[in-house]
Symmetry: C2
């Protein structure tokens, strides 16, 4: 299997960097090929905008979808995005490794989604969800959270962590991926703070080992359930009596609300 790890942290020697290396080592030991895309080190530009589109569909005003579609259909996608798409086409497993910053992905990873998932190439109105370009490939989030696990529980002050990663998971499904359950690391403190906590090092070591186990047992894990084209009507509403599969599906039933 070919695996691509997209790494979104400014410090290679961070715990996120360690997790990236754990994935490379573990997957290699399993006989897989693992490649890393280090967004900070590669200087990836996260800002979608006119500068990436020297050939324009509409010069008078910039619209991202319009220009992405034009570039995709006129062999004019920028070189950095094309290189990323080639890597995605190569990979049978995609891992996004990042720290949760403000309950979401860091800006560099958000910009990677904004720019690389090109309208007209990676998705179209017809090529989405279970008909998405990357169908048959798997993707997985590996996320570190500074806060304690309890605060990210359903009855924690932040609420269920699955709701914070749902936008990214649903994005992966949108472009066709089979989305595996995330690996979540909690209580990942800055080095200075961790140094003052005697149990912090042991906690991080145990987290690394838990990640190794997670990776070794990927094939045994059921992917997340998502609804399919046939489940909704033309306005995007679920048909009556469809079972809803999303981050909050245990609360929701089609036909209500």
């Amino acid at each position: 299997m070919k695996a691509l790890i997209v790494f979104a942290h400014p410090e290679p020697d961070s715990f996120n960097g360690r997790m990236k290396s754990v994935a490379v080592e573990t997957l290699a030991a399993m006989g897989h090929e693992a490649a890393v895309c280090d967004l900070y080190a590669e200087g990836f530009d996260p800002l979608e905008g006119p500068k990436h589109f020297p050939q324009r569909a509409a010069v008078e005003r910039f619209n991202a979808q319009t220009e992405q579609h034009y570039a995709a259909t006129h062999s004019a996608v920028s070189a950095d995005v094309r290189a990323m798409i080639e890597k995605l086409d190569w990979a049978e497993l995609l891992i996004l490794q990042y720290p949760m910053w403000w309950y979401s992905v860091p800006a560099i990873l958000k910009g990677w989604l904004d720019r690389v998932l090109v309208y007209g190439s990676i998705y179209t109105t017809e090529m989405r969800y279970d008909k998405g370009r990357f169908r048959g490939r798997r993707a997985m989030l590996s996320v570190t959270c500074g806060g304690p696990q309890g605060s990210y529980a359903e009855n924690g002050r932040n609420g269920d962590v699955n709701l914070f990663i749902w936008p990214t998971n649903y994005t992966l499904y949108y472009v066709g991926y089979t989305v595996l359950p995330p690996f979540l690391a909690f209580g990942v403190m800055p080095p200075a703070a961790a140094a003052q906590e005697p149990q912090a090092k042991a906690h991080l070591t145990a987290t690394e080992e838990r990640y190794r186990q997670h990776l070794r047992t990927l094939d045994a894990r059921s992917p997340l359930d998502f609804n399919k084209w046939g489940d909704w009507d033309s306005s995007g509403r679920f048909k009556p009596d469809v079972e809803i599969h999303n981050a909050f599906s245990r609360f929701a039933k089609a036909g209500h609300g």
Copy 2:
């Protein structure tokens, strides 16, 4: 009242740009002062990282919180972030105007959160939530969505749109803001697509008018409910029988899960 509109779209002449202008005009007509921070036009750098911290707490490896805290306590916050914080200190109302890209904020706005909400200055372990720095000030999201409203309903294929904006709303509350109900615009298509839909122009004009009404009646709108310090224990879990107020609170009860 002093209002700051943080505008996160690459095209001034977009519908988002129009919404920004509608806010400026409407607030001015109400006798308020309105200022705009145009992140793309100002060339805001969204990437948190070592380059913004010439004076380092720890040179051997970069940790964002560690360096933010050091900069905040050593008068070494970068000039662009300091200028942003001055604007936030000036504003009694903060509006974030952005298009929903991949179920989240555009990278430039994510990076604005990542960099401007400085640990040690804008928040500390003790200065958060209802004890946050911006307590007494109001904030509001104004978001455009390309998809139809039905797809963002609780029984729509994307699920309740409030779950997608919850990370940003909760971030605003985290730093102390009183968060007003968002203004949400659905079915905002690219200009080329809209030109082919006879009703698209009328829809956008009606959306603008709905936004004017939203702004004129801000004072009558109840802010979002959030839980307070006293509602959770030291691990961040809600105390038994606390009523949970968050984006999915109508589904949740403390003590369960």
